[in-house]
Symmetry: C2
Subunit: 268 residues, 2 copies
């Protein structure tokens, strides 16, 4: 029996569209519903309690849309809210932290030292350390919060000298630790990949989006909730605020293949 209900994907804003794109590429026959909390973005500088509250509210909205599972495409929400989300409902919930760690350990053998860069709130949560301990206790993981990268990316400063200087301020201390593998612990960061690779030749950057799609495949099979493979899936985008940068970001991350866009007011 095929399950044609949608997969729900959410992020604090639009950075999670990188994950949505990876999912859509691997599962073109799945219906997808994305929620971007653009009225309250960013989550990365907010407290654990507030991130949990927002995540539960979005989960409730997605469940009302009759999704069959939820992908939390936001590292900050994945770091704080997965347990609470799973406690409140009985559909599968997948975050992006474990896929990020697995993208490193599955694809690069004999790595002993690695780093994760992310928002303040993700780093403070210790979620990457905890996930790494589950997967491989031998790897030393260095954590670095990089709070200015999201604003710089959202302003399109991905080619600026100022962004290079700020990146160097954040990343030089990782390189001094003799670390050459960096997990991109924020869904925005892949947009700085080429700048980082140019500044630090030989560095290996780990992006969780593809591994998230791989783990999603396993979950769909385990729970027997794949959709009809003959069916072409639709993609619906919901946001909590229609902002100026919304259409730019959608184009930047995705390229205009969204079937519908709607604004939803939460928490009012």
């Amino acid at each position: 029996m095929a399950d044609n209900r949608a997969i729900g994907v959410f992020d604090s804003g639009l950075g999670g569209l990188t994950v949505l794109a990876a999912i859509q590429k691997k599962f073109p026959h799945e219906n997808l519903i994305y929620f971007g909390d653009t009225a309250r973005v960013p989550y990365g500088s907010k407290s654990r309690d507030t991130v949990i509250r927002y995540s539960l509210e979005i989960q409730e909205f997605l469940i009302k849309q009759d999704v069959k599972m939820i992908v939390v495409a936001c590292n900050t929400a994945s770091s704080h809210a997965l347990d609470e989300m799973r406690r409140k409902n009985n559909i599968p919930v997948l975050g992006v932290v474990e896929p990020g760690v697995r993208a490193l350990t599955n694809n690069y053998k004999n790595v002993l030292r690695a780093a994760v860069i992310a928002t303040k709130s993700t780093i403070k949560s210790g979620s990457y350390d905890a996930a790494m301990k589950e997967v491989n206790r031998e790897i030393y993981l260095y954590s670095k919060a990089c709070p200015l990268l999201v604003p710089l990316i959202e302003e399109g400063f991905t080619d600026r000298k100022a962004t290079e200087m700020i990146l160097r301020e954040y990343l030089d201390e990782i390189i001094r630790e003799d670390i050459h593998y960096i997990i991109l612990g924020c869904t925005h960061y892949p947009l700085l990949k080429s700048m980082i690779e140019r500044l630090y030749p030989g560095i290996v950057l780990i992006d969780s989006s593809i591994e998230t799609a791989v783990m999603l495949e396993g979950l769909l099979q385990t729970h027997n909730i794949n959709s009809d493979s003959g069916y072409r899936g639709t993609m619906k985008l919901f946001v909590s605020d229609i902002t100026d940068s919304l259409l730019d970001m959608e184009k930047l991350f995705f390229g205009g293949t969204i079937d519908s866009l709607e604004k939803i007011t939460l928490g009012w």
Copy 2:
């Protein structure tokens, strides 16, 4: 008859503490209640509708605290929400846009060209143009959105080379317009005053906080709602999220003279 009810002051986050400090200095006998919407900060990249919705919600909270008037110490909220706020209640509401314009026209005579720098949402609202037209139709006002300055200030990057480069990118086009008077249209920007003055010697920076306190004085008199002058006022701080940077910012802007701090959940 003295009116010892508090003056309510609010901002999207903690930048409005610059305005609170100016008010407290001028009116040490007034009780002050500040609300910082740290769970939804920043407002500057959000839409008009969302900023109005948030402002009305905060107004409702402040009125429940029995304030005698409200100062909107946030340029973005002042730009979008004053009319709606005034329509919903009958206590005086003062924004920071008109004081910013008056701080220029009252203190510098014969100015013919000026600029305002602010968030995207403030600039897009056209509020400074409208206020300038009310006050002095002869002055040409150049508007420039500077969206990265708030994140840089909140991260304490007020002394960095990268911040200088981003400032130059924003401000060089103002200087090329042969403009030497710049209104700081965001309550965070005074923290970049010394850097801007060093980069552009001879530039005159206009800060609305002092003029806001001056206009407040007039409002208190007109409405006959001054407090007892012998009385030492209290200062209460409310926020919607207790974030890591909260205590740093409070120290940076204010220096530990707050009487109480409490977290309030709105919109849930």
